[in-house]
Symmetry: C2
Subunit: 369 residues, 2 copies
Amino acid sequence: MQKAQEYVRRIQSNKHMSRFFSKKYKNLVPYTPGEQPAEKKYIKLNTNESPFPPSNKAVEFACRSAYELQLYPDPECRKLTDKLSGILGVSRDEILVTNGSDEILNFAFMAFCDKNHPAAFADITYGFYKVFAEINNIPYFEIPLNEEFKLTFNDYCGINKNIFIANPNAPTGLMISKDEIEKIIKSNPDNIVVVDEAYVDFGAESCIPLIHKYDNLLVTQTFSKSRSMAGARLGFGVGCKEIIKDLNTIKYSTNPYNINRMTMAAGIGALEDEEYTRGNCAEIIKNRIYTENKLKEIGFFTLDSSTNFIFAKHPKISGEHIYIKLKEKGILVRHFEQRRIREYNRITIGTSEQMKSLISALKEILEEV
Amino acid sequence: MQKAQEYVRRIQSNKHMSRFFSKKYKNLVPYTPGEQPAEKKYIKLNTNESPFPPSNKAVEFACRSAYELQLYPDPECRKLTDKLSGILGVSRDEILVTNGSDEILNFAFMAFCDKNHPAAFADITYGFYKVFAEINNIPYFEIPLNEEFKLTFNDYCGINKNIFIANPNAPTGLMISKDEIEKIIKSNPDNIVVVDEAYVDFGAESCIPLIHKYDNLLVTQTFSKSRSMAGARLGFGVGCKEIIKDLNTIKYSTNPYNINRMTMAAGIGALEDEEYTRGNCAEIIKNRIYTENKLKEIGFFTLDSSTNFIFAKHPKISGEHIYIKLKEKGILVRHFEQRRIREYNRITIGTSEQMKSLISALKEILEEV
């Protein structure tokens, strides 16, 4: 049970630390990643991975690079960054690639937040923001989403805090418009606004063009979702040169060779195959619409997803029960214990076949009640 | 010029930060990695890479894993950790694998050091220790090596600080015995002793067996040198369960998926081919002895290396001049600006052919004087 897991982790993190562990972490509760079962018996709809394999070019380039593993990777990631800059329409020194987007997010907390520069983010959002704040000893404010789980942009205007917004948001799947985000950026000119666009390719508008207008904006993205590269660990941040320079200072003070050769090569391969990525995104969106409709037909309430997952609850069965029963039937989804969302499950969009299996399993569960 | 590079980096790191960069980093000077030229025109003897390609098994396993990049890697790295535990003779929960050994070293600074628990290390050692201390706001003490660049173990006994020792040391190449390290560990029972064994496979005795005797020991190693995997980014730490648990808390609070699938697979492949690693180490040691002898023949003074590099100076030519002239002749070595060692260069041991080219080039340089 995930509940039990979470409990165990909390206990562990507090009780079994060594006598040497710094007291500054006394309140730290590490992030709990979604289950990654060693066996392959599950239909995995719990960690928002792509159901499609990586681009052939990504695989080909990665393999070729493996023959030169004896040499350090380029710490500046020049080839990959150049390729990315062409696609994004920004210059090389406005990008920093990292070991997943978790790394660039942590760098942002490290670089721009401190006791005098607290962080602010939604109460229901990517659970890691809180952990990044905790581990870096940064005070933080959780701003409640409204009753419909929507982010009210006005709550973020002129608040004089560094702001972290996932757009589209997770685990809700809801997005806000670029115009609204621009108002937030504009009204907090002395603070950094980080827009975490991990899921942007499935339906929201990117804020990257705004980096040339505002020096307080950092946009982060990842190759994990739309580019089928969760296993390669590749993310990046886009912002004005000065911000990227600061983040590079953090990188060169923690892990200059943060991206290995194979991931770098796979990233270049994926970027040479943007058509494949676009095709996969279109397929995911099609399957999402199918799944939303089917879920509604059998009584589920779903939030309006702009992502590769759906956040859904049923009026008659608890979120935890659905999670457990689906797991028994070989389907993993993600359930969270947080009070406001514990009736929901976050369901990753897979292939149309996987989605049909999901709907069948849910029908059976409903019949059993 | 490396001198110029260093200068530029210092200026950059202090002057061109954004107005948002936290003031807590005002003294931070990032680490300067060795040059990684984009073109392949150099004989690269500057970053202690292996001159031999990775094991075929490492390449084969990495390639195979690239087809599944759409899935997150196992955050617990179970297969790799199990394999490693068998080879090292420790249990799974006494190991943590990381994104290069830089990551585990940074984790150790984060986990065990703070304002009340300062760090101590040699004045001449891996330059990153100081940076890790700076970025984590940890007070640190640099303990001078003696005039022969030897570490006097007595200087570290009962000092009540967390101790970081590279054994063998870099860039000197000198090692101290396991017995001496044990005395240091024993005499600082309330502090962590980190033994950084990046170069241990080229001639020193590992302290790993001591982890079952002392709860305050962390040993770190890397796949970068003896296993020809600098480009894959794979390191690990070995210590008692409680220490590893603390380091896991840091990992799960910064980047739970720190090791990508391909690196994990390559690591497993390399461990299945230990004979290849041992053969390469023997070859490096043979080439080192050859090079030491040849260097002495042409008037160089060298320290007694237990690593895959030689630290050498010449009574008639400055270290910087040798560095510059070798670079002009297409050979990169590493020169440091630090006062005590600026007459030296650190020369990585390559193939016997590369070492012959090095000696020829040095002879020419000497004739030109």
